[in-house]
Symmetry: D2
Subunit: 447 residues, 4 copies
C-alpha cells in the first residue's frame, strides 16, 4: 500500500536543501527520527503503549518527500490503516505529519550547535513554539494544561471529559501531552463545550517529544502539535505556556510532571508567581490524591502542598476556579508588563532544564536522600520518575531494560519506602501501562 | 432575575416597526408565540417533554426587545437557569433566541396572507430557509437528515453518536428535528468527527416548529436553527434539503416522518428521484425495525420497502453508503441542472402540504381503510401519528386530551390491529415519552 | 454576442417564483425596469448622460435568468463591451447586476401595496438598505456622503480625488450617488488612502434609483450598490446613513440635494441633530460657492447658512473636520441610545418624503413664492431642481420635454431672478450636461 | 517628538534575546543598519534620493524596542512627520517597520556564517521570502515584476499607472523595487484595477536592500516588503519570483537590471526557460528604447534582443501579452513539476550571485572588453551600472565619491563610447537623479 499526501500548510514551502535533509540517503539518524515520529502520529489508533512494539510492527513503513509544483508531496509506504477513512487520511493526522516535518527540520537546522545556558534553552523552547504558531499574542490568558495518566479507568476518563466540557463552556483552551486517557478526555469534552459556545478559535495544543510520541500518539483533535526535542524542553514548554494547570490521576509520568512543577514553584524567585494548579478526579479516585499528597508532604514538605489545591468530584468548580485563576494571571502579568503567551519570568533552574538520560548508570547514581535542598530533591525525584517512564514505554528505555534488567534506585530508607508504596499503588491501579498486558516493573527499589 | 442580552447577528438590525410587532402590548397571540418559542430554546436542559408542564413552570418568564445604538437588546425576566454558565448565556442558545425572533418576524411579516397553492407553500419553505441562511449554494450535497426518537435508550443513543461520528469523519453534515435523543446524538458524534477532519464549516441544522419546540428544545450544538410555521412545512423542509436520510428507532413522531417520506417517494412522479434512505440501530434494536417493516408492508405494500434499506449495527457501513449516496445525488442533480441546496423537483402532493389540525373531530374522521390509493393511505396514517405526537407532547394536544379524553382512531380491523400493535410496542419500549413518568395513551383504537 | 454570467452572492438563491417575476413574458413593465437598470450598470463606460440616448443605442440588449444547479445564471444578449475585459465581465459590474436583481425583486415583492405614512416610508428605506447588507451594526460612524456634479472640470475632479484620499487615510468611507465626476473622484482617492492604511473593510456605497441610473451609471469601485425606488427614498437613504456630508460643485442635482438637506435640517425638531456638512472645492471654484450661498441666503435665510461650512482648497482640513465631526456624531448618538447605522431620529416631513412626479403640470403648479414657511419653500425649490434634473437626463423627463417643450417655473420675481441667475451659471460652467453636446435648457423661468 | 507603536503582526513575538540584538547598546553596526532602514521606510515622503542627505537630516532620529505584555512596542524619537496622519502612523508604514525588524533579525540570526555556494545563496533568498510570507503556494503564476526609473517624467509616470491598471484588471499582481516613479505607478494603477475586480488578495510586493532603501523608500501601498541583504540577492529574488517582467524607462539601475536579466537568460541552461519580458513606455519614450536596444545589440549581440519584446504606447496589449505569458509559465512549470512560487530551475551563475562591492578599485578593475564570453560581459556591465547607482544614491557610494572623486571605467573603445552615449542620454533625460538638483556624474569613462 502506497499513499501520497498533498502538500498543506506552510510546510509545503521547503527548499530542495531542506527536502534533502529528510531523505533516507542523507543522514540515517535524522531520517530514523523523522520516520519514527511520522509513524507515531499515523499510528493513533494503536492499542499498545510500547514504542518498541510499534516500531517492530511497522518495519516496512517508509516515508519520502517529493517536490512538486505546488509544494512538497509526501509518499507513505505501508502506513497504519487506522489513519485513514475510506482510503483518505484523516485531516488532523495529515496536519500532524506536517508538524513532525516542521519541528524535525527546525531542530536539525536552527539549533544544531550545543545550547547550554538557561537563556539559550528558554529561547529555543520559545522559538519552537513560535515557529509552530503556538503563541497567540492577542489572546487573554486561557490555556489550561492538563496532565494525567495515559492509562486511566473509564470513570476517570469520563471525569476528564466532563472537566474539559466545563472548561470549554468557559472559553478555556486545552493543552496536554496529547496521548490517550487524561490527555484526550479534556479535549473531547472541550470540543463539545466550544461548539455550544460557538468558539471557532478553539485550541487543542499537544506538546510531545520524539521518545514518547509513539507511546502516546497525538489524537487527531489536537490542532496544534509541537514536537519538542526532549522531555525537559517539553516540560518547560508546558509550564511557560500554561495559565492554569490541572493534574488528573496518572502514573509515573504524571508524578514526574508534578515533581517538576513543584520543584520550580518552590524556587524562592517564583514565590510570587501566579499559576493556579488543581489536582482533581472523580470521587472514586479520592484515595489516589491522598496518597500523592502524603508522598509530597513527606518528601518536599508542607510548603509544597500549598502550591496546589485538590478538588474531588466537582468538574464545574474546577472550571470556575480556573476561570477565576486565569483572570488573576492576566492581572498579574499586566501589572508587570509580562507577556501573556509565554511566561518569561518563571525561574527554571538549570538542573530542571538539562536533559537527563535515563541510563542504568545515571539512574543508580541519583541522589535520593532527604537531606538535600528541597528543589534539589524534587529535581532528582523528577529524574527518577522520568527514568521509570522511559523504562515503561520509551523505545530506548525498553531496550535498555531488556538488556540490563531493571533500573536500581536507592537512597534514604524512608524515602525509598514511600516511593515503593506509591509505585506499587500505580501498578495495582493499572496506571503504568495500558490494560491488556501484565506489568513487569522496570525498576527495583533499594533501601 | 433579569438578564440583558447584547445584540448579535443580523437580527439586531430591526426597525422600530418590527420591534413593536413583538412587544406584548401589540398583539397578544403573536407575543405568546414569540415568548413560548424563546422560553423553549432557553429551557434546553429540561427533563420533561410536556409542553404544558414547561409553560406552567415558567409563568413568570418574560421577554422584551429594547432598541439600542448598536442594535436590539433583549431583556429576559426569570429565564431558566440551565441556559447560563456562571451567569452568562451559552452562545449557542443566544443565537437560538435570535433565530426565534428572525423566524417569528418572518412568519408575521412576509406571509400574512393565506398561502394555499403548492407553489406558494414550497416558496415559503424555501424563503424561510434562505432567510435563515440555511441554503448553501456552493456546497456539494452533504446534508444527512437524521430522524428518530427523542426518548431512546442509552445503547441506542451511543449508537446514534457513533453514526454521527462516522458521518462527520466523511465530511457529511447533520440535520435533525433538534431535540434530545436521536436528534442530538448524531450531532455530538459528528462534532468530534468534524474536529478530527478540521472541518470548520460544519453544519448542525435544526428544523423545528412552534408547537413541538418546547417538547424538543434545540440542543446548543445546533448552529443553524429554523422555526418553520407548522409540522407540514417542517417536514417539507426536511425532505427538500436532505441529500440522504437516516431513521433511527423512535416513536410516533418517527413513524409520522417515515410515512410522510414513503408517501412522497411512492408518488409516480418521484419514481426516479435519487434520495438514499437508511433505517439503522444497534443490534439490540433489530426487532424494532422488523416491526416497522412489517407495518409498512401490510399498509403501504412491498413497493414501499424498496424505498429504503435497513442496516443493523454497522455505523461505518451506514456512513459509507450515505457518502456514496450523496455522490449519486450530486450526479443526478447535476445532469438535470437541479439545485443541490433545495430539491425543487420532488413532487409533494397537496394533502401532504396542507396543515392537519389534530382536533378530536379531525382525528376520528381520518379515513384509515386499506382500500384507498397508497399515497392517500400514507397521508392519513401520517396524520394519525401526527395527532398522537400532539396528544403526547404538544401543548394544544395535551390540553385537548385533558378536556375531551383520548382521540379515537378507527378503520379497517386489520389495519387497526397492526397500528395497535405498533403503538403498544412504542409504549413498552418507552418511546412515547421521556422516562420518569408513566405513559397514558392519548388515543384509543377502534376496529 | 451572448454572454452567460455565473451566479454569485446570495442572489443566486432565487426561487422559481422569483425568477419568473423577472422574465420578459411575465410583466412587461417590471421587465423593462429590470432590463434598463441592468443595461445602465453594464454601460458604465458611457460618454453620454442622456438616458434616452442610451436606451436607444442598445435596443437589441436583452437579459434573461436561467435556473442552474448551483444557482441562477444570467444570459446577456448584446451587452455594452466596456463592461468586459478580454471577454470577461468586470467583477464589480457583475456584482452590480446582482444588486439590480436584488433590489428590483425587493421592490416588486415586499412593498407592492401602497406605503404612505412617514413610518412606512422610512421602514422601507431601512428595509432596502438592510436587505442590501448596507447597514453595518458594529462600526463606529464613518460614512461620508459626497454630493456634487456628474459633470465637473478636471481641476474639480482632481480635487474630489484628493479629498477622497484624505478621507481614506483617516479611515472614513464614501457614499455617493455613484455616477461619474464628483461621485467617482472621492472613491478613487479613498481607494488609495485605504490601501495605504490597510483597510480591507473599505466601503464605497452607491445609492441610486431607476430613473437616474442610466445617466449616472455606478462606477465599478462602488462595492455596495443600492437601487432605491425613487429619488425621494434615495435622498432619505443618503441623509439617514450619512455621518457627515460633503458637497462639491455641481449642477441642478446638487442644488436639489442641498435644498433637501437644508429643508430638513431647518426643521425645529432637528435643531439639535449632529451632522457635519461641508461645501468644498478647489480655489478656482470659490466663486461657485459664493453664488450658492447667496441663493440660499436670499431664499432660505441666514439661518440656513449656519447649517454648513464652506472650505476652499484644503482637502486635508475637510478630512480633519469630518473626522472630528463623526466622533461628535458618535457621542451624540451614544448618549441618546440612537443607532449609528441609521439615523432614525432625523425628522423628515411628509412633503420631503412623498414622490414628486415632474410632469409639466406639476412643475408649473409649484409654489415658488417667498411668503411661505422656509421648509415649505425648500421643499418646493427642491422639487423644481428635481424636475430640471429629470428634463436634463432622465428618460421620462427627456421624452416629456421633447413632446411638450420646456417646463415652466413661476413665482416671486426676485426669487425667479435668483433662480435664473443660478441656473445660467450652471449652464455656463458646463454643469448641466456632460461635455460634448450643447445644452438646451429644459425649463423656462417666468417672473 | 516621541511616538510609540503598538506591536502588530507576528513580529511582536520576539524573545528577549532577539530584542537585545537590535538595541543600540549591543552592537553598533547592526543597530545602525536597523535604524537606517527604519528611518528610510518612515521617510517615504522624501523629496531627495541621496541616502547621505537623508541620514544627515535625521541625525536625532532614534528607535528602540520595548517588551510589553502583548508583544514588542517600538519607540521612535523624532521620526519624519510625513509618516503620520493627524499624529497616527500610516498603517502601511507601520507594517514596513516590522518588515525591517523581521528581515534584519533574519539576516543577523540565521545566516551569520558565510554562505558561498550557489545552493546556499539561493536557499537564503528563498528562506527570506518564505519567512516574509512572500511565497504563495496555492496561487497560479501572477506576479509581474516591474522595473524602471525612480526618476521619470509625468507622461511616463501616467503610463506606468495605466499599465498597472490594465494588469490589475486582469488579476495580475505587481512586484517592484518599491521606490517612487516606475516602482510606484504600476501599484497605484493596479490598486484601482483590483478594486474594480474585487480582488482582495492583491499583492504589491516590494523588494529592496539596505543600501538602496533610503534613496528609494517603499511607498505605503507595498503590502509585502522584503529587505534582502544586498543587491545581488534582491535581483535573484526578483527573477525567481517573477512570472513576467516589464521594464519601463529608467536610468543606471534599470540598465543594471536589464543586463542582469539578459546575462542569465542567455545562459545555455536557461534556453528553454519560459519568462515573458516586455519593455514598454509611452510613445514619447520610443527613442529611449531604440537607444537601449542598440546598446544591447552592440554589446550582447542579436541573440539578446530575442529575449524580450518592445511595445510602445499600448498598456492594454502589454497586459494582454503578460496575461497570456503567465498562462504559458504555468503550463511550462506544471509539465516539469516546477514550483509556481519560486523558479528553482533558473540557472544563475556564481558571478551574478556573488556580491560586488563598488569600490574605486573594483570599478577600475572591471573587465569591459568585448572579447569575452557574452554572459561574462553582461556580468561585468551589470557591475559597472551597479557601481554607478551606488555613486548616485547610496550612502557608501556617495561618501566614496566625495573622498576619491569619480569612478573610472575603462575597456574597449567602442564599448566605452556606447556606454558613454547611453549614460549621457540618461543624464540628459533626468533619469539619474530626482529633479531639483544638477546631476554631477560619479564616473568617468576612459577609452
Amino acid at each position: 500500500m502506497q499513499v501520497q499526501l498533498n502538500p498543506t500548510g506552510v510546510l509545503n514551502l521547503l527548499s530542495q536543501l531542506e527536502v534533502d535533509l529528510l531523505q533516507q540517503s542523507s543522514n540515517s539518524e535524522r531520517y530514523r527520527l523523522f520516520r519514527n515520529c511520522a509513524l507515531a502520529v499515523l499510528n493513533v489508533g494503536s492499542h499498545t503503549d510500547s514504542s518498541s512494539e510499534i516500531y517492530n510492527k511497522y518495519q516496512d513503513f517508509d516515508i519520502k518527500l517529493i517536490a512538486r509544483e505546488r509544494g512538497i508531496k509526501i509518499a507513505l509506504d505501508n502506513p497504519p490503516e487506522t489513519a485513514f477513512v475510506d482510503g483518505e487520511i484523516i485531516s488532523g493526522i495529515h496536519e500532524h505529519i506536517f508538524s513532525v516535518i516542521r519541528d524535525i527540520l527546525f531542530i536539525c537546522q536552527r539549533h544544531q550547535e550545543q545550547i547550554n545556558t538557561p537563556r539559550e534553552i528558554t529561547h529555543m523552547v520559545f522559538d519552537m513554539l513560535r515557529n509552530a504558531d503556538a503563541l497567540e499574542v492577542n489572546s487573554d490568558p486561557n490555556i489550561i494544561t492538563c496532565w494525567g495518566g495515559h492509562s486511566i479507568n473509564e470513570t476517570e476518563y469520563q471525569y476528564t471529559k466532563e472537566v474539559g466540557y466545563q472548561l470549554g463552556l468557559r472559553g478555556l483552551n486545552i493543552c496536554t501531552g496529547c496521548g490517550p486517557g487524561a490527555m484526550k478526555g479534556p479535549m473531547k469534552g472541550a470540543t463539545i463545550g466550544h461548539a455550544k459556545q460557538r468558539i471557532s478559535s478553539n485550541r487543542y495544543l499537544g506538546l510531545t517529544e520524539p521518545s514518547i510520541i509513539a507511546a502516546e500518539p497525538p489524537n487527531p483533535i489536537v490542532n496544534e502539535l509541537v514536537i519538542l526535542p526532549d522531555i525537559e524542553k517539553r516540560l518547560e514548554a508546558f509550564v511557560r505556556t500554561a495559565h492554569g494547570i490541572i493534574i488528573f490521576p496518572g502514573g509515573a509520568g504524571t508524578a514526574e510532571e508534578l515533581l517538576y512543577l513543584l520543584g520550580i514553584l518552590l524556587h524562592p524567585e517564583n514565590a510570587k508567581q501566579c499559576l493556579p494548579v488543581i489536582l482533581t478526579g472523580p470521587k472514586e479516585s479520592a484515595g489516589y490524591f491522598e496518597e500523592i499528597c502524603a508522598f509530597i508532604k513527606s518528601t518536599l514538605g508542607e510548603a509544597a502542598l500549598e502550591k496546589f489545591e485538590v478538588i474531588v468530584d466537582n468538574p464545574e468548580l474546577v472550571a470556575q476556579k480556573l476561570k477565576a485563576g486565569v483572570k488573576e494571571v492576566r492581572e498579574y502579568r499586566k501589572e508587570r508588563g509580562d507577556a501573556y503567551y509565554f511566561n518569561w519570568t518563571l525561574k527554571i533552574d538549570n538542573e530542571f532544564q538539562m536533559p537527563f538520560a535515563p541510563t542504568h548508570q545515571n539512574m543508580s547514581a541519583l541522589d535520593l536522600h532527604l537531606d538535600q535542598p528541597t528543589q534539589q530533591l524534587a529535581a532528582n525525584l523528577r529524574r527518577a520518575f522520568s527514568g521509570i517512564v522511559a523504562g515503561n514505554v520509551k523505545d530506548e528505555g525498553i531496550q535498555a531494560i531488556k538488556q540490563h534488567g531493571p533500573y536500581t534506585l536507592s537512597g534514604d530508607t524512608s524515602l525509598m519506602k514511600d516511593m515503593d508504596k506509591l509505585l506499587r499503588a500505580f501498578v495495582e491501579q493499572g496506571r503504568m501501562k495500558l490494560p491488556g498486558s501484565k506489568y513487569i516493573p522496570c525498576y527495583q527499589i533499594k533501601a
